[in-house]
Symmetry: C2
Subunit: 137 residues, 2 copies
């Protein structure tokens, strides 16, 4: 585990009509502040990344499909990987100053929800090409 | 339109790797407070409702599938209906004290995200059976 990263089990309440799935409560430890919520889709086998947020804390939940996340901590050279989604329904909380990339794993729609602590601001994130951080996908 | 209900166009940023879809920013008029975010799935043709929240303001976005919402204002007897989802990507903001029911329309997964202004509390919502409010589905 990389320091500050949290993986939280989320409750799924099954019903005949369709499930209720928890995402984030304001009273939870993972919640700092609400800045913006947005969705990002990623097609099967496609990789989005790398991106590092200098300020935003990410709360990531995958309601549709399955997504592999890889987190890279530059100062320690440490990698961390996890797949979350319908088959492993958890929340991934990522503090600022870590590199993140993610890959669609399901042949159906892969959708992540990020509940970020600040609004989108192109000046607070930096990007690298996929091959600039060596990782065997 | 029922007073206080807002329908907001949301931006979709198309990319080859998968779309980015806006949901809610803290600076937007529709945002009051972050209490809890959760997902609710509803199978095709199935209806969930009726439910009235005495306090919670709902911000509803449908990232997967298509869902028909029906809102009923008891004091005026007025109904309002809208379908939102991938084919009509908008946010539906519903103030408290209105009856809401919704129906899955797509044969694929129908998923709504609610960003509610307060945390779930069974004492602040009331339910009615579907046939207790007459509406031709």
């Amino acid at each position: 585990m990389i320091e500050g990263v949290q993986i939280t089990d989320l409750k799924v309440i099954g019903t005949d009509k369709g499930d209720i799935k928890h995402a984030l409560k304001s009273s939870e430890f993972s919640f700092e502040k609400f800045g913006e919520a947005y969705f990002s889709e990623v097609h099967q086998n496609v990789i989005k990344g790398w991106k590092l947020h200098k300020e935003m804390i990410l709360n990531l939940i995958v309601p549709c499909g399955l997504i592999k996340f890889v987190i890279f901590e530059e100062k320690t050279g440490q990698f961390m990987e996890i797949e979350i989604g319908e088959q492993n329904y958890k929340r991934l909380t990522i503090p600022s100053d870590l590199w993140v990339a993610f890959q669609g794993k399901s042949s159906t729609q892969n959708v992540l929800l990020n509940i970020g602590s600040i609004e989108h601001d192109p000046n607070e994130s930096i990007s690298k090409n996929l091959d600039e951080i060596e990782y065997c996908w």
